[in-house]
């Protein structure tokens, strides 16, 4: 994966300022940059300190294809200049960064919208799974119906948390 790629899946942390500087470098048509960073919480349904560590699994190959496809969709829907998505995998601790979605555009409206669209899409369509370590043992994180509803705002049916149980045909 070259540093300038639109999608990077990596174990290492990332530098928000360096990524944004690279994304908008030399593009004087850019007037707006939006960057979203997701971080590891120390709690989920429970109290502070409940989550001691996080392990992120993914489906190598499919993950990159899924995110590339959602970036193509964002570029078709919104008037944006450039997009970069970085998602970490492997073991992580609370307070660490997990995901970056950065978007450049001429104007802020498109940049904000594209960034939110990409995160809504990623939450329900990119093959990542979180496993939390707690004092009671490790557990896989449950998908949230709210994330399906967030994608539905853009006219896309997520079918993730509410994955259907229907038969083949």
């Amino acid at each position: 994966m070259k540093p300038g790629a639109r999608v990077r899946i990596q174990r290492a942390d990332f530098d928000l300022a360096a990524e944004i500087a690279a994304l908008r470098a030399g593009d004087a048509a850019v007037g707006a940059v939006v960057g979203f960073v997701g971080t590891v919480r120390d709690r989920n349904a429970g109290g502070a300190g409940e989550v001691q560590a996080l392990e992120l699994e993914h489906y190598p190959g499919m993950t990159e294809k899924a995110i590339e496809a959602m970036i193509d969709e964002a570029l078709a829907r919104f008037d944006v200049r450039a997009v970069r998505v970085i998602h970490r995998v492997g073991p992580m601790q609370p307070l660490e960064q997990i995901v970056l979605v950065a978007v450049t555009a001429a104007n802020r409206g498109a940049a904000f919208q594209a960034c939110e669209f990409l995160m809504d899409y990623l939450k329900t369509q990119a093959p990542f799974w979180k496993k939390e370590a707690t004092a009671d043992g490790a557990r896989w994180v449950d998908a949230r119906v709210e994330d399906d509803e967030a994608l539905a705002r853009w006219g896309i049916r997520a079918g993730n948390a509410a994955a259907s149980a229907r038969t083949g045909r």
Binding site: Y59, K123, W129, D142, N160
Partner: protein, 83 residues
């Protein structure tokens, strides 16, 4: 025909990361799921029709009505939770 079936997250822990499954040509992803459920045991429990489950065909999210071609890569996994 033979297809490669991969599993991720909780399904990988239960079944291992992949297996090769012999199945009839022209079968769908949903029919493959039913074949695996018919084995009983952990497969019946974890792939059961009461479980939220997603499938992929050749590394793209796929509907259960999709027909599986010879040599395809199939995957089953729980709802995704990245981001």
């Amino acid at each position: 025909m033979k297809v490669r079936v991969r599993y991720f997250a909780s399904l990988r822990e239960a079944f291992g990361s992949e297996e090769t499954v012999e199945m009839p040509a022209g079968a769908t992803l949903g029919e493959l799921r039913d074949m695996l459920i018919a084995r009983g045991g952990a497969h019946a429990e974890r792939l059961g029709r009461d479980r939220a489950l997603r499938g992929a065909l050749d590394q793209a999210m796929a509907d259960e009505a999709r027909v599986i071609d010879e040599g395809a890569e199939v995957a089953f996994f729980p709802p995704v939770t990245g981001g």
